[in-house]
């Protein structure tokens, strides 16, 4: 321990508690830290902070299979670190940026042509070309592997992928798809040597890092890919660990055992080391609008008025969340900036309920709020507030907390139908950046996660999906307005804010996709 003073300097950290105690603690933890840093380091390499960035995740990646990379737990490690897609969405601007493809254009109603880079090799030395890209897309979308990304962005429709020459690739769809390049930004490119019969746990890719070692259960280490075609990232190695408890992840930042902690909550104790960032997740109640008393629009409106969105944000999330008026937050194509959240007005809510009651609507019928344990920080507190506030409006509300699997039975078709009216607490994240991904699911009459719709609304949705550019944007904006005025399947609560814990020794600015795709190349040491 005494010999490790040289390494201890690498784990700079500031104790949140100031003064003498802080200094003493700092000195004490330096000793401990340095001893564990020594234990951690490989015998051959000295550990210095420019060499290693340590990240703590909420859970171990179940696999690193690139065709499952749309799953948060896998994608956060794999995407843009180990493997790369042809194009990627810039989370800040919402535009598509070139990556392995330099250009792309629609070359027909149902066909897109991509021009690929010619200077890229996979980390195992295989050259990257149109052949490889076609293989990877085929493997992810058209195979029998049951890839998650296939279902997530493409559904049952297969793609026809052709390598025209070394650097030209065409992709055809059955029906016109104006956002095909965006969909393809979810397909990570793997070399043709990749197993087509089974999923792989440790993939090869073109990314700036490659898998060095995976001690299952303990930690995962990536090392710099020295043949990377782009700029070399700052850190030579990245080490991932995982802790289920948010407080523990935050503690690892304050004690200097980790540089970045993902998925924290506001009260987990990261203090000043916690960075807020909008994570594109929206929380709402989804109302079964065909079951009494929720079949009366006044009752659904009353629910919207009854919820104190600002109060919830302030008391539970220290004001970091934004009261929501629609399913997608700012930055997503189709977000309507003119929509204002429903005002919080208990009197109005009660009046609406009373009015409905006078018309014979059975407002005393029990409405069940169904929420999922640990879905996001303080979900149980939020549910209890919702129950209380809906009760204030004169409704008969029960709360039912369930686990993920049970929650899915309410969330997905075929829905639970024998439990009366249900207000399901949903958290919807639009990782893709286009409202189409949200409304297809949540608003069409037959949507997998939609419990209500009208034929007229369906027509609007179908029409919007084939539009491009500004037309598309304004069509979706109208759709969100229409939902609030005529449909009211949802009572929106908040656009969420995530917290990432960041040690003082590293520089990183989180963006809306940090939770799904943590780009190691964007992390740099503080000099």
């Amino acid at each position: 321990m005494s010999s490790s003073s040289s390494t201890s300097a690498n784990h700079k950290f500031r104790s949140p508690r100031s003064g003498l105690v802080g200094a003493a603690i700092a000195a004490g933890s330096m000793l401990i830290l340095s001893s564990c840093a020594v234990a951690n380091s490989e015998p051959s390499t000295g550990t210095t902070s420019a060499d290693l960035v340590r990240i703590v995740l909420p859970q171990e990646p179940p696999t690193l299979e690139p065709c499952e990379a749309n799953l948060t737990s896998t994608g956060v490690v794999v995407r843009s670190n180990i493997t790369e897609p042809l194009v990627e969405r810039n989370p800040t601007t919402g535009d598509l940026d070139p990556l392995l493809a330099t250009e792309w254009e629609a070359t027909g109603d149902t066909e897109w042509t991509f021009t690929l880079r010619d200077d890229v090799t996979f980390s195992d030395g295989t050259p990257f070309n149109a052949e490889a890209a076609a293989f990877a897309i085929d493997r992810a979308v058209n195979s029998d592997l049951g890839c998650n990304v296939e279902g997530y962005v493409f559904g049952d429709n297969d793609l026809v992928v052709t390598a025209v020459d070394e650097t030209t690739l065409t992709v055809s769809t059955v029906t016109p798809d104006p956002i095909l390049p965006l969909r393809l930004s979810f397909v990570e490119i793997v070399p043709p040597s990749t197993d087509t019969a089974a999923k792989v746990r440790e993939p090869v890719g073109t990314g700036p890092y490659k898998v060095k070692q995976w001690d299952a259960g303990t930690k995962l280490t990536l090392e710099r890919n020295d043949d990377y075609w782009g700029d070399a990232p700052a850190y030579a190695e990245a080490e991932y660990q995982w802790r289920a408890e948010g407080t523990v992840r935050a503690a690892m930042i304050t004690s200097g055992e980790a540089d970045l902690a993902m998925g924290l909550g506001a009260d987990d104790g990261a203090g000043d080391l916690g960075l807020d960032y909008p994570n594109n997740e929206t929380v709402a109640l989804r109302l079964t609008a065909e079951i009494a008393p929720l079949n009366d629009i006044r009752v659904r409106q009353a629910i919207n008025y009854a919820i104190d969105k600002q109060g919830i944000t302030d008391s539970l999330y220290q004001g970091a969340h934004i009261p929501a008026a629609q399913l997608v937050p700012e930055g997503i194509v189709g977000h309507n900036p003119d929509l204002k959240p429903w005002e919080f007005d208990v009197a109005k809510a009660s009046a609406l309920v009373a009015e409905a009651k006078a018309d014979g609507v059975p407002v005393d019928e029990k409405i069940t709020i169904v929420a999922r344990n640990a879905q996001f920080p303080k979900v149980s507190e939020m549910s209890q507030i919702l129950q209380e506030q809906l009760t204030q409006a004169g409704l008969n509300v029960e709360l039912k907390m369930v686990d993920t699997s049970a929650h899915l039975q309410y969330q997905l078709r075929p829905f639970v139908t024998n439990e009366g009216p249900i207000a399901l607490l949903i958290q919807h994240g639009n990782q893709a950046g286009d409202a189409a991904f949200s409304v297809e699911q949540y608003m069409t009459t037959t949507g997998a996660q939609s419990v209500y719709g009208t034929p007229e609304f369906d027509t609007r949705l179908t029409d919007a999906s084939v539009l491009t550019g500004d037309d598309r944007e304004s069509a979706y904006q109208d759709i969100f307005e229409y939902q609030n005025e005529e449909i009211v399947q949802f009572a929106f609560i908040a656009h969420q804010t995530g917290v990432i814990g960041k040690a003082a020794a590293v520089d990183y600015t989180p963006n809306s996709s940090s939770g799904d795709e943590l780009r190691l190349a964007e992390i740099t040491p503080v000099s």
Binding site: R17, C36, N148, K199, S405, Q441
Partner: protein, 329 residues
């Protein structure tokens, strides 16, 4: 002894099969994991593919027969979550828990013997009062609370140990301390009770009167006598440690079987759950057999001539001893 061993092993086999069948059926009752593993917008076709691919559409009996067929060939199936062979995952996680539980149990026994004996020297003295109170309180604190509190105090505020992980020797301290509380609390009271009794028995008085030192009296004579009840209860407590391991491992990121089991339940990862339960059950049966053996040996050596003892004391009987040696007020 070999006859005894063989009989125990054979008689353990049937419960083992019952355990596996029970877990198999229960796990299947928690529902088809398709929606957990497929994207939210998965189509009916994808659902059917998934179900067929994993054999969940076969009748339960067929699934079970396939599974047992696999187990006989040491094939425990493939994890839905990670795609790895379940047997491998379980064997990889098992040593971590075994080490944690082993060290914890060892420490608990050693500490409990020291504290319990010390307390027993002067029943209802100050040491006795404090130790029995403290051990009772220690055993009744929720372990996850203790764990998070420990991290806050010892890792963040004092900085003595790492918060979690397995990276350095010091990272063992917190998990062990947390896991230790319950077995230690219970064992202290048992050792103390047993010691109080044996210290008042005639042969101890004899030893004392012969001028043996107090340390010798306690360590050579009384302790041996007190070991039997402690040993049996320690066995039950060791089994209980698996419960604690579930909580402690998930907080401290300990890559053990407790965390693996709870994850596999949450994720409906049936193959891993079954393999983990099978391995735990086998080791618990093995532990019980070992304890019976140890008990029999101890019994034979310590009190071969006790008149009242007509048959071998089973662990179950010792459960009763545990009760009778609770501290008094």
């Amino acid at each position: 002894m070999w006859t005894f061993l063989r009989r125990r092993i054979i008689s353990s086999a049937i419960p083992l099969i019952v355990v596996i069948v029970g877990v198999f059926a229960l796990a299947r009752l928690t529902g088809n994991p398709a929606s957990l593993y497929l994207p939210l917008n998965a189509t009916e076709q994808m659902r059917e593919d998934f179900t067929a691919r994993n054999g969940f559409d076969d009748p339960l009996l067929v699934q079970m027969a396939n599974y047992f067929g696999g187990v006989l060939r040491l094939d425990f199936g493939v994890s839905l979550r990670t795609g790895e062979p379940a047997g491998e995952m379980v064997l990889r996680a098992f040593p971590a828990t075994l080490q944690l539980a082993g060290v914890t149990m060892l420490l608990a026994v050693v500490l409990a013997v020291i504290v319990g004996s010390w307390a027993a020297l002067k029943p209802n003295g100050i040491v006795d009062r404090i130790s029995s109170f403290a051990s009772m309180a220690a055993a009744s604190i929720p372990d996850f609370w203790l764990a998070i509190m420990g991290i806050w105090v010892f890792a963040i505020t004092l900085g003595w140990v790492p918060t979690s992980g397995v990276s350095s020797p010091t990272s063992w301290l917190l998990p062990i301390a947390v896991l230790l509380m319950r077995p230690f609390g219970v064992l202290v009271q048992i050792v103390r009770g047993a010691m109080v009794t044996s210290l008042s028995e005639p042969y101890i008085k004899l030893a004392r009167s012969k001028g043996a030192s107090e340390v010798r009296v306690v360590s050579r004579h009384a302790l041996r006598n007190a070991a039997a009840p402690a040993l049996t209860v320690a066995g039950d407590l060791a089994v209980g440690l698996i419960n604690g391991a579930v909580v402690v491992e998930s907080i401290f990121g300990w890559p053990g079987i407790g965390k693996l089991m709870i994850d596999s339940i949450l994720q409906r990862d049936f193959a891993v759950l079954q393999a983990a339960v099978l391995l735990t059950a086998i080791s618990i049966f093995a532990l019980n057999i070992l304890i019976d053996l140890g008990y029999a040996m101890l019994d034979a050596r310590v009190r071969p001539t006790t008149r009242a003892r007509k048959r071998r004391v089973t662990p179950a009987a010792a459960q009763e001893r545990k009760l009778n040696v609770q501290p008094t007020r």
